[in-house]
Amino acid sequence: MKVHRLACIAFYIFATTACAQQEKQVYVPPQPQPKAGKNEVVVNLSPTKIERPGTINITFDANGHPSFIEPKPVKMVKGELNTDGEDVIFYLPAYGPYSVNSKKSHSFENTSTAISVDSNNNSELERTELWFSSMPIRFGDKMFEVKKIDPGSTWVLLSKSSAPLSGLVVGKPCPPFTFTMADGKQIKLEDYKGKSLLLDVWSMT
């Protein structure tokens, strides 16, 4: 537990997340594009000069003391998805191996490929724009699932997700939420209509 918490703290301090990959850049030939099925879309990927901070490696010695290995920037490829008339640009690492599955959803344990959705189109891939391909991703006002990524980094297959709208995106509507308090009372986004609301993610520890 202690080691786990140390890893968590370290992660948030050094919070420049990305998936655990891209240490070795091996050329893989592109695979033929699949035919998009119902509710699916194939998005072409193109090379860019944009980079994203790489993986933070945390190792522990015999006494449980952590060591941090400075991440290397990762080159990215770019995709563009039109959803409801809005062009949404996203980036993923230019080299695999890619994965769209992860047994864990926590960002510091998620082993699936991280996708940056550049919602503000400033070509700066901020931590708050990072999503994991094992989970539904918000593109504009729609949720999509990543079905497959070409090992040769030339396309990605997405499908419309039935998951409810989730994820905060600056300039976009906050997804609806309902929380149950300890006394059983429910708190909803609508309760704050007409007021500004600060969401504060915190812990006392």
Binding site: S105, L168, F179, L189, K195, L199, S203, M204
Partner: protein, 106 residues
């Protein structure tokens, strides 16, 4: 917390509300202990903000809001997200962007 408290006092709680999302259950503490501990911290700070105990900690913040760490996000009165991971001057600027000004009482 002191910065947020100051901003809210300046603007007025009727215009700017704060919803605390506690991830303490992430760390394996018993729920009752977390409830008491959270209340103690909020009382000590002199704030009466609604506090939600997220059953799955950061997994909940990630799945609902795509937030994987501590921090503040601002939603405007129109329901539009004005800022994520806000601190210091960025928080003040985001609050101003919603059109909020100092309370008439000041």
């Amino acid at each position: 917390m002191p910065l947020v408290k100051g901003i809210q006092q300046r603007i007025g709680a009727e215009k700017l509300e704060v919803l605390m999302l506690s991830v303490d259950l992430e760390y394996g503490m018993p729920k009752e202990e977390v409830l008491q501990g959270n209340s103690k911290v909020l009382n000590k700070r002199g704030v009466a903000w609604t506090n939600i105990l997220l059953p799955n900690g950061f997994r909940d913040t990630q799945e609902r809001f795509n937030l994987d760490g501590y921090g503040l996000a601002l939603i405007g009165p129109d329901g539009i997200v004005r800022g994520i991971d806000l601190r210091g001057d960025d928080l003040e600027a985001a609050v101003r962007s919603t059109g909020l000004t100092n309370s008439a009482k000041d």
